[in-house]
């Protein structure tokens, strides 16, 4: 059960600037725990952002993306009041979707 993302979507000129903070361990699979056992890789693999049903960003990630990932991007065609929906899926099959209203 993952924690919610923090999403901010604001108008920057005629574009929408989206800033997302995700809660995820992003384990590389290289780290060893205190007992010497390798901690298995656990990381977000896919991120999708949509606006009015259209994909405005998609991404494939590896475990080298930092823990508690931050992502920012800009797209055209949005206006205040519209919703931006972000979804991530990780290598264990866990999924999380959150949305924000453009302010």
């Amino acid at each position: 059960m993952s924690d919610p993302m923090k999403i901010r979507a604001t108008m920057a000129g005629d574009k929408v600037e989206v800033k997302v903070l995700m809660s995820h361990e992003m384990e590389t699979g290289q780290r060893k725990d205190s007992k010497g056992a390798t901690v298995p890789a656990w990381f977000i693999q896919n991120v999708t952002a949509t606006h009015n049903g259209k994909t405005v960003l998609s991404a494939e990630w590896g475990p080298a993306v930092s823990k508690n990932p931050f992502l920012s991007f800009r797209f055209a065609g949005g206006k205040p009041g519209d919703k931006v929906i972000i979804t991530w899926t990780d290598n264990k099959g866990d999924k999380r979707t959150d949305e924000a209203t453009i302010s």
Partner: protein, 155 residues
């Protein structure tokens, strides 16, 4: 449920359901999903990564701008803003040369989305960081060295 549909399901047996399940990503075989380029994320060099993405030798380009601090106080979180001025930019990937696997992230930009991204990646040590751009079907790159330090008493 109409008879025709019932027959189709019976006839196809488990195979159709299996196919649907695979497509839906319900089968997790070490992350081998159709929408995640496993091969690319296991490469160790720029040329291998581009090959895994279906491209040939990338060309260096001044139209790709990497903005980042020159020194990272800790390699766990190193911020990058990458902007591409190349027309028809479809994707921007971030590669960290000296990481165990070179490819950190790959972003795809549909029409209407600015070819610009700000994110944070892990760097295991001082290394060149490469922004690899696919524009109009061809690959381009820019590179920047970022020094990684460890602060304080390491804690």
């Amino acid at each position: 449920m109409n008879k025709g549909r019932r027959d189709v399901l019976k006839g196809a047996g488990g195979t159709a359901v299996l196919g649907l399940a695979l497509a839906a990503g319900l089968f997790r075989s070490g992350g081998a999903r159709a929408d995640w380029n496993k091969a690319a994320f296991e490469t160790k060099s720029l040329s291998d990564a581009v090959k895994a993405m279906g491209g040939g030798a990338p060309v260096e380009s001044k139209d790709i701008v990497i903005t980042s601090p020159d020194i990272a106080e800790n390699g766990a979180v190193v911020p990058f803003t990458i902007a591409s001025k190349l027309p028809k930019t479809a994707s921007i990937a971030i590669l960290v040369e000296k990481n165990p696997n070179i490819l950190a992230a790959d972003f795809q930009f549909p029409d209407g989305t600015e070819p610009w991204v700000n994110t944070r990646v892990k760097m295991g040590q001082t290394s060149n960081v490469i922004a690899l751009v696919k524009a109009d079907g061809k690959f381009y790159y820019a590179s920047k060295e970022v020094k990684v330090t460890l602060g304080g008493c390491g804690g």
